[in-house]
Symmetry: C2
Subunit: 307 residues, 2 copies
């Protein structure tokens, strides 16, 4: 009913980072694609199977040093329902290895429909006498533009199944300010969205002081990161934009509290494509991912101390 | 590159309404579920197959009198990747019957990831020498909270493949005002989002004066519907909330222009579950859906005249 499970994993690994598993087929080494293409031709199924093999190898190399993965739904939907099968299998495999899984779907809708998204990604559906978890992640990113009744079904499942959500507050992209920075009664829209996170999570606070309602705040806006950390004491942050998008570890440090907790920093491409940057044997892609995950951990923890 | 194809279908059928195909298993008659349960047990596959059979029968009964369907992604994701297969099959079948398909996914993300959602739902992916459309809808609903760079990839595909998008402006749910009604420089956030729709669509205007960038505006807020119709002359409206959520045809009429164009009104549950309300033989569910679709068309067109 809070982010305690995630925080415990962060403390255990001494690593407040999450690996974004957002594999486009371009990221997957050619030899791996060929293996499946021989069986299924140049098809969505081939793409989906190659991506699962890629994800699985990376999970096998990082699960002991990284607390969580964040698969981005878009990159699975891109390969149709075979891609969604790979999403389900990736989530399932990472959980089996003890990792915390955040599905990055930025879902949003009115209450009744949000209930369906909640069942899909964090809950279960009942079919006949069976109760089945369709995707079964530990947490889901969501968009709060529709207000409280679009968030309410998620809070129920956070409470009953020990799950979490991350609400988009201040996103990492260049145009995030177009709407999010606009002033409402003298304060930016993102701050108001942040305040709603505190309200929504008020009854779901765990032993570290953080609720089950987190916020997405981009590493590319370190000023806002600092301001929001002070403003939202019970809101755990998911911080995208480190590395590839230009956010540095020093700026990211302001997302954390005095105990080195309160945030988890995402890196996707830099880890998945570390083998390309290293220019090593493509068959070493998972080991290269591990090396980059260690480099990132050490970079961030040179600025913060987890107590 | 605009909503001309949709408008042509609306004129052809004399019907500015869209049927939301958002089937929960509860909506599907028991005899249909049983047929698949005998083969696959109480599984996600059974649910997904029963829902496709349900959708297909409804499409067969309405394709000649209704211009479009709007499958809501949440209700397919709820049945895992088998559900997503049903989404793809439903879209494909409706297009085969000449219907316009709006996938209601309310997707949103930063630019690079939005490109993946665009490829998934409106575009194609390249695998080896093959170019494959994963879901292939005609239009997609999206959430604009991230600003222009999260919308840009969609505009490219609207232009190159004659597709459309609907941006959430003023949603139909009770708490939509929590953020959307807040004033920014004296004007509500939803009006500012609406203005962005006009900007985003400026280079994609078709022969009826409407661009490829539409807006979602709820039937439950007729005042705002009227205000936005006047304010956004090139923005085509998708209007949810008619019927079940309490929006009436008289209020909905203000979504239309002087030619009876400019909007399409959604009904989901009232049509899918018409057989329950009629209390007719469940085997007549598709015929009951047709009767309700005709009733809805006549209700709306008693207030507007399509020229």
């Amino acid at each position: 009913m809070s982010f305690d499970r995630l925080i415990a994993k962060i403390k255990e690994t001494g690593n407040p980072s999450v690996v974004g598993l957002d594999a486009k087929l371009d990221y997957v080494p050619e030899y791996l694609i060929q293996r499946f293409q021989e069986e299924d031709g140049a098809s969505l199924q081939t793409a989906a199977r190659a991506i699962f093999a890629f994800n699985k190898a990376i999970i096998d190399e990082i699960y002991d040093i990284v607390p969580a993965i964040k698969p981005q739904s878009a990159y699975y939907e891109m390969y149709g329902y075979y891609g969604m099968k790979t999403l389900a299998e990736t989530i399932s495999y990472a959980k089996l290895k003890g990792m915390f899984v955040i599905t990055d779907g930025k879902r949003n809708d009115i209450g009744a429909t949000m209930q369906a998204y909640t069942s899909a990604h964090l809950g279960s559906v009942k079919i006949g006498d069976n109760e089945i978890e369709p995707f079964g992640a530990d947490a889901l990113t969501v968009n709060g533009y529709l207000g409280t009744d679009g968030i309410k079904p998620l809070l129920d499942v956070c409470n009953s199944r020990d799950k979490g959500i991350f609400v988009l507050v201040k996103t990492s992209n260049p145009s995030s300010g177009e709407l999010q920075d606009k002033l409402i009664d003298g304060e930016p829209l993102y701050a108001r969205m942040g305040d709603l996170c505190e309200t929504w999570g008020a009854d779901l606070i765990g032993e570290y002081g953080y609720s089950a309602v987190g916020a997405v705040v981009g590493a590319t806006y370190p000023e806002q990161l600092k301001e929001l950390r002070a403003r939202l004491p019970h809101t755990f942050f998911l911080v995208p934009g480190y590395g590839a998008q230009g956010g540095g570890a020093e700026g990211v440090a302001s997302a954390f509290d005095a105990n080195g907790l309160g945030a988890i920093v995402n890196s996707s491409r830099a880890i998945m494509c570390a083998y390309q940057k290293e220019n090593c044997d493509p068959r070493e892609f998972a080991k290269a991912a591990r090396r980059e995950a260690i480099r990132m951990r050490d970079d961030i923890t040179s600025y913060i101390k987890i107590k």
